[in-house]
Every structure is written in C-alpha cells, then in structure tokens.
Symmetry: C2
Subunit: 334 residues, 2 copies
DNA sequence: TGGCCTTCTGATACCGATAACATGATACCG
DNA sequence: CGGTATCATGTTATCGGTATCAGAAGGCCA
C-alpha cells in the first residue's frame, strides 16, 4: 500500500531535498561527494527504481529511438537491429521496435503509434511509405533516417544501397559466364518494394546485356523464404531445366531452390546456376556455396548509429546520404 | 516556437475544456457524439499527436511489456517475438525489447534499464538469472513470465518446455535405430544455459540407454550457428567418422555439420546420423532433411499473450505453469 | 410546479522528476 | 573588514494528460 519508492522517499531518508537526490543520482558534481554516495546507498537500500517516464515527461526527451523493420525474422534486418541496439544502448538510448510485415499500411499504423511515445528520432526501413505516413512525419522537427534503400525522394537522411545496382552486378556476372535464359524467383508483386526493385533491376540488366526476356517465378506473398523457394521449384518440376540461371530475391529462397533442384537430380551449377541476395549464413555454408550479394547489414546499423550520434550532438544540419554499397560474392552455384 | 500541439490547443480551437477533448479522443460515450466528431476533426487538422508519455505518467500505466531475448537473430526467438507483438499489439500494448546476447549479466543490466520504464509485465527468456536480477524483480508487484524453459524455482509464471526431456527423445530415437557412439556439438560451457541443459539431457539419456560416454565437441562461445558447426567438423576432419551420430544443439549447427560432413565425402545418414533442435526452416528444406525437435516457438508466444491477457484482466492469481511440450520430428539424417 | 434523474461539460489536483532561480555558508581577496 | 566568488543545497513551477468531484441544462413524472 506504500506505493512505489520515489525520490521524495529517498530524500526524506537522507534528510535532504528531492532536488539533491535527483542531482546525486545523475552524478551531478555540484553535489558533495559524500552526499552523493550516501544518497546512492540509501536509494539502493530502499529499492528505489528511477522513473524514466517521469523524466521523459518533464524533460520532453523520451530516450527512445523508434525503428521499423519489415520483419525481425530475417537475419539481415536482425543484424542491423543488433548493431543499432548495441550502438545506441551505449549512448543510453532505448530502441522502440515495430515490424511492418512488409506492408506500408502496417507501417503507417506503427509510425502513428510510435510517434505518441515522442521518440527522439525515427529510423525506417525502406523508402516507400503511404502519403499519410509522410505527412505524419513531415513538419514535426523529428530526425528521420531511411535505411536499406536509396530513395529518390527521401524524408530526411538515408543510409542504404541500390538494390537495383546490386542485381545488375549479379546479372552481369551471369551474362559474363554465358548464362542467357534467366528466371527471377521472388515474392508476388505487391507490398514488398525492396523485392520489386530487385526484380526491376534484374529485368533492366538483362535487357542491357541483350538477354532474352526474364521469366518471373512467383513464390507467393512476401516474405518468401526457404520453403517457398523449394515449393515453387518442386511445382515447376523438370521444367526448371529450361533456364540457365535462377536469380533469387534472397539467399534463403535461393537455398530452397537449390535444394529442390538437387533433389530432382539436376546439378548446380552444371545444369543451372543459382544466385541469392544478402550474404546470409546459409549461402556460405550450403553445398555448393551460393553466389550472392553482400549487403553489410551490420554496417548499415553502425552508420545509422554514427549519424544519429551526430544529429544528437547537433553536428548535422543538411540531410545526409550514405551509400554503403554492395558487393558480388561469387560462390559455387554459378 | 509554438511548441507541440496539446489537448489544450485542441480544446481552445473547439471552445471546450481539455477534459472534454481527452474524453472525446478516448471515445468516451458520455461525450456528445457531435462534439466527439468535431474534436477529432479539429485534432486531425491541427496535427495533434497524442502524448503517451504524459498518459503513462498520469495513469501510472506505461502500456509497455518488457521482453528479453538472448538474440533476435534466431528464427525461433524471432518467431516468438512476432507472436507476442501481434498478440499484444492488438491489445494496445507495446513491446520493449532487449537482447541479452546469452549472458545473464547483460540480462541484469537490461532488466534494470527496462524497469525504469515502468512496464506492466516482464517476459524473460529462460530460467537462469543473477541474484541481483531476481531481487530487482521480487517485491515489486510486477507480473513476470519466464519462457522457453521450465525452471525449477520460477520467479512467477512459466511458459516453456523441458529442453532436457526433448534431448532425451532425440537420444532415445538414435539408440533405437542402433546408434551408439554419440557426439554432442554445442557451444562452450559458459553463459548459454539452455545449451547446457540440452547437453546435460543428452548425457543423462545416453547413460540411461547404456551408450558409451558422449563426446563433447566444442563449437565455440554462444551463440553458435551454421558456420561454427561447419568449422568444427572441418577441423575434426575424417575423425568424425568414428561417431555414429552428431547430436547438435540447434538446427543451424546441425546444418553446418551436415554440410561439412557431406563435403568430405561422407554420407548422411549412412556413415553418420545428425540431429538438430528447433525445427528451423533449414531442417525442413535441407537435403537430406534434418531430424529435429519441434518446439513451437509461435505457440510459446501465443500462450504468453493469453497469460498476460488473463493477468491484465485480473483472472490470474496463482502462478501459472504451461508446458507446451516438444515433439521429435524424424527427418532423413537419422 | 417542484423534485429528481439523465446527459453533458468543467474545475481542480495530481502523477515524479528537474530547469531555473534563490539562498546560506565559507573562503578568499585587496 | 567589506565585498565578491565558490560551493552546496533548497524552493517553486512545470511538463500533458486524466481521476474525481461538481454543476448546468433539459426531460420526465406526479
């Protein structure tokens, strides 16, 4: 019934004012060293727990950075998130995470919700948003970073790479090694914009290299993963042999395809090349290793952290655009 | 300079008191329907954004549930988290996520930090905590749920399964199919308690089945994944053929082992059986499919949501213990 | 007509920390 | 020794919602 322990209680116990307690707990040097120590001791004894909500309210600084990801269940996004957490955690900032399930409407809802927590910055994955999302964000003085893409018309800062260029490298590599009849394996057209950009990149690059039209193989609604890759190839059966190469939207999909292709007795890369995207662990360990694109998920996270730190320190005025690039990693499937 | 838009501003604009605005925005039916609509319109027009911090402060209800996970970059934990997010999001609760990197000291630090946000419940992964963590939690009236384990001496509620029993099933299966010389592939002894429990389960079960002593193969500090499994087997070389079966701490590790074993020309399961844990996607798609244990990560999340809902509704008094069980899934590697 | 109930709205205080300013005690200076 | 700098602490007001109680307006009944 005594309710929670507040600074007032601690103050009373040490015979000082709450203000002194506040200062002591924040290690303010204007407070006498002995007093500081005593306050800390007593606070500990009383089981005092600092109330960040009250602080956030009074100072109008929440200590939160809001982040949206399409999905946590994706090693690359998870890696970015990990880098964000450890980088910002050191700065005393907590992350507020939301996942959009690859849908911009869901993102809108999330942003609406996250903004009510008064975050000090907003980090969005991707550069496609609903108009409502855009207008929610604009006007407010809130720093915004879009990551994992290089949007044409950014909301604020950007840390990403060109999905389209990355795919062009993959297609260039395949063309150079004599592959001509390509199929792209990805999610159904629809919500997943990053997937769509990759697909478009493949088409454009194939065109540039004067390859025949790229066949689109639909592995189902996003997110698509190993089992979808495997299922769609199983459904296709031996017909898959008509292609020289399967260009997959991600490594998990590529692994699914690889596995299914091998099961039907075809040889990779002899009968057919397969490429992935993202440099997931499975691409390095699978047998054969999958040709893929390294996107430096962790680096994206780190760059975002650096940028945020600069913003909080007031060192950033103009919008920043960081291209972390990407890199073709030739494996044994091509 | 005008600062943020508050309820006061909205109230002024509609010529009513802030209290009425507050009620209107919360859809309180005691407010006249027309007034409600008008308030909403005006709020929208002024770009008013509700301040959850102020609400949390005044009502002493944060709208947060704090969750700790060993790692987000793990499909099973990510799946549990997804289930929690979608289940609790519907109830208007937001998740505060922290990852412990499989270390109890890090968990302690995290819990300390999370508690300052005044969460309405705390969901921890696993049943091993530092004494400081335990005392931080006890005493406070905060509902606590430990998940993914069935701890002997729980802090509060529990939703999990027996890692040890699950491993016993795996070993039983191997013994029944004539495997005798087992090796366990897992992380170094140390922080990861779930891994340690699995290891102990294997040893005990092997003993029970009168198998020779189980060899421990150390794949490095937690978390161990595909590449660690592959690396440790590569380092072992053909010596691996002395075992009848590799019992791996997780599916990714098992896949790494499988891949390395295949690369050196051995056949699975003819020369050697391999088992995993967790029913990860890779186990279903790999070639051959990996014998594993299905742990229903999503179900754990759902059960935790149900439990929390019960707690918030005041329907739960005594500590609840839910065993979601686990199930051996025999694949093609054994 | 008076009394009472229903419907809607307002006034006030408060949640816990802290910014901003004020104050009391000492020390130190020429 | 008066005056000013320095150090340590206290006082007051405030951040933006909302619980609680009070009250005005209108309808209904006997």
């Amino acid at each position: 019934m005594t309710g929670r322990v507040t600074m007032r209680d601690v103050a009373q116990a040490v015979g000082m004012s709450p203000m002194t307690v506040s200062r002591a707990l924040r290690d303010d040097r204007t407070v006498n060293a002995q007093t500081r120590a005593r306050v800390r001791d007593v606070a500990q004894q009383l089981g005092y727990v600092y109330d960040s909500t009250a602080q956030a309210f009074r100072t109008q600084k929440s200590g939160f950075v809001a982040v949206t990801l399409p999905s946590v269940n994706n090693a690359n996004f998870a890696e970015t998130f990990r880098a964000l957490t450890s980088g910002l955690g050191a700065a005393g900032v907590q992350l507020l995470l939301g996942s959009t399930n690859y849908r911009v409407e869901r993102e809108e809802e999330l942003v609406r919700q996250l903004l009510t927590r008064n975050p000090e910055a907003l980090v969005l994955t991707g550069g496609h948003h609903t108009d409502a999302t855009r207008s929610l964000i604009k006007g407010r003085g809130l720093p915004v970073i879009e990551m994992w893409d290089l949007p044409r018309d950014p909301l604020g800062h950007v840390v990403g790479f060109s999905n389209s260029d990355a795919m062009a490298h993959v297609v260039g590599h395949l063309a150079a090694t004599g592959r001509r009849k390509l199929a792209f394996v990805g999610a159904s057209e629809g919500a997943d914009m990053r997937g769509a950009v990759r697909r478009a990149g493949v088409v454009r690059a194939a065109d540039m290299h004067r390859l025949p039209e790229v066949t689109m193989i639909d592995a189902g609604p996003a997110p698509v993963s190993m089992r979808h890759g495997a299922a769609v190839i199983e459904a296709l059966g031996r017909d898959v042999a008509q292609y020289d190469a399967l260009v997959c939207v991600s490594d998990p999909v590529a692994f699914g395809c690889l596995s299914a292709v091998q099961r039907m007795g075809l040889s990779v890369p002899d009968d057919l090349a397969i490429t992935g995207f993202g440099h997931f662990e499975v691409a390095k360990v699978s047998n054969p290793r999958i040709t893929t694109v390294n996107v430096q998920a962790e680096d994206i996270g780190r760059q975002v952290v650096d940028l945020l730190q600069g913003i909080f320190d007031g060192d950033v005025d103009a919008p920043v655009r960081v291209d972390v690039g990407s890199e073709l990693v030739v494996g044994e499937t091509s």
